[in-house]
Structures are given as C-alpha cells and as structure tokens.
C-alpha cells in the first residue's frame, strides 16, 4: 500500500514537472543573476492576451514572444525601466502589474484610503451621537428604550 502511494506520488511529481517544462521554454541565461532578474521582471508584467496571468506564467503565444523579446532586450543591455517602457509604448500601461501613480490611477491608489476615511468618519459620528444621547439622561428609562430602537 505504502509502495503504491509512493509510486503514485512520484508519477504526480513527474507529471507536474513535465507540464512546467512545456510551459516555460529554457532561455540561454549567462548566469544565475540574469535568470533571477528575468524571472522577477516577467513576474511584474501582465500577459495582454490572458489577462490574469503574468508573462512569466502564461503559455499564450504572445507571452512566449514577449519573453523572448525581453530576453533579447536584456542582452542589449537595457534596464528594467527601459524594458517596461518598451512594452508600455506598445501595449499600454495595461501590462504593468504595478501601475504608476498618476491622474487616471488616483482612484485606484487612493480610493481604498478614501473609503477607510469615510468609514472612520461614520464610526466617529455614530459614537459621538450615542455618547451625547446617553450621558445626560443616563437615568431615564424612556431614553434607553428610544436608544435601543435606534440601534442598527
């Protein structure tokens, strides 16, 4: 039983690794640093075809072409910023997983903060209103009943 499990597990691992090998074709990196840089860069860029995958993960033909192109640009000594700009010039800012802070992304960047501030405002107002309503008439039964009705 145990042996069977081991064999099954081994098969699973082998299947997984062949799938990976098919997805990512090997590129002739000259050293490990370059490979790490490439992996890091392609993980920050979005595949234009399959929109929720990075260029690193995607198996779409265009993702493969763009990976090759990025590799070529790296060989030509281009910096990460230059390579990103190269892709933005052609595929728009859509390809960036980390969009720059600018006028049309303000809502994206600061929207959550705005919602948080509104929430803080509402909570503060509610707490103030309650403490003001409760404190002066703390002994009157009527007020407490009205207050309970208000509680949502």
């Amino acid at each position: 039983m145990r042996r069977l499990l081991c064999v099954l597990l081994l098969m699973l691992v082998l299947c997984a690794s062949t799938a990976m090998a098919q997805a990512i074709e090997p590129l002739p990196f000259k050293d490990h640093t370059e490979e790490v840089r490439f992996q890091h860069l392609t993980a920050e860029l979005r595949c234009p075809m399959c929109q929720n995958e990075t260029l690193a993960d995607s198996n779409a033909p265009i993702a493969r072409d763009l990976r090759n192109q990025i590799f070529q640009l790296m060989q030509h000594g281009q910096t990460d910023a230059q390579i990103k700009q190269y892709l933005v010039d052609r595929y728009s800012e859509f390809v960036l997983y980390d969009p720059p802070v600018q006028r049309n992304t303000w809502l994206l960047w600061f929207g959550p903060l705005l919602i948080l501030l509104v929430g803080v405002g509402v909570v503060t107002a509610t707490i103030r209103k309650r403490s003001r309503a409760v404190l002066p008439h703390v002994s009157t039964g009527e007020q407490t009943a009205a207050d309970e009705g208000d509680d949502w």
Binding site: M49, Q51, P61, R90, Y91
Partner: protein, 180 residues
C-alpha cells in the same frame, strides 16, 4: 433619518455594483486600448506572401490610407471575419492590406485559396517581430492608417458588419473629410 441610512447605503452599493455589471457588459474586456492611436505607425518592412522576394513597408504604403488587417490561418475568429472583409473590401474606400501573422506560408495560401483573397497588398510576418511593435497580441486585429502613416483607429477581434457600419466606416469618412 437614521433609520433610512442603511437603506440609502444599500441603494448606493446596489447602484455601484449595477454600474459595474453595466460597464463590464458594455465593452469588450479583453480589448486593451492601444497607446498607438494617433501616433505614427511603427516602421516595418515585410516580405509579400505571394512574392517573398518583394517587400512592403511603412514608406511604400504612405500616400493613401489603408486598413491593416492582422490574420492567420490558425486564428479561429478570422474565419468569422473573412466573409465580411470579402464583401466590404471594395466598398471601404481604403486599401485593404493583409498582415499574415506567425503563419506557415503554405497554410496561409491554402486558407486564402479556400476562402478568397480580399487583400490588395499581402505581407507575411512569420516571426511576429513587427507585430510586437504594433502592439498586436492576438488575431484578428485591424489598424486604420492614414495617408501620413498615422494610426487612427484600431479594432481588436473580428470585424463584423456591425463594426463596419458603426465604427470603421465613420472612421474612414472622417479621414476622407480631412483630406478634402
């Protein structure tokens, strides 16, 4: 008033979510707006599919507006688009330039032999290198380039009769208006 507040909050939220649904069904989410609109088309020089020794380039196509149509024999939706191009090529009023994208030349020729060839000029980009400069990420895609070599309009996905009438023809009419 405070009793109404949750209801108002609910309405606001429902409105927001409803807007999201309306917004997402109203446009093609897979279409990425091209940053190349109203910019000069990238420089290119590609061999012709039927005469590989000859080339067409950005410079050779200058002077007259043209519709650059990216297609391939492996492309599923190009089959949907093709009859529309066949029917409308002569009525568009611009040169229809074919861009055979990452295709085996023999496959492309067989595909066109079976369906007809609507293209006045037909280039082949077997490597897909030029397509990256155009920001092409799938086929079919179409670019309307004016007489000065500036990209004026892009359509991603198959050109249907609806697209021809509501987008393409008005865009071409605007070009013709300018040149007058």
């Amino acid at each position: 008033m405070s009793r109404l507040l949750p209801f108002i909050a609910f309405l606001l939220l429902a409105g927001l979510l409803g807007f999201g649904i309306w917004w997402n069904t109203g446009h093609d989410q897979t279409a990425i707006p091209s940053p190349l609109i109203n910019k000069p088309a990238p420089d290119f020089k590609l061999p012709l599919l039927y005469e590989p020794t000859q080339t067409a380039s950005r410079a050779s196509l200058l002077g007259k507006p043209y519709l650059l149509n990216v297609f391939a024999s492996w492309c599923v939706e190009c089959v949907v688009e093709h009859p529309v191009l066949q029917a409308e090529a002569s009525t568009l009023g611009v040169t229809l330039v074919g861009y055979n994208y990452k295709d085996a030349p023999d496959d492309a020729k067989a595909w066109l032999a079976a369906r007809g060839n609507p293209y006045a000029v037909l280039m082949a980009d077997t490597s897909g290198q030029t397509a990256i400069d155009f920001g092409v990420y799938a086929a079919p895609e179409s670019f309307l380039v004016d007489a000065h070599g500036v990209i004026r309009y892009k359509h991603i996905g198959p050109i249907t009769m609806d697209v021809v009438n509501t987008e393409l023809k008005p865009a071409i009419a605007a070009l013709q208006q300018e040149s007058r």
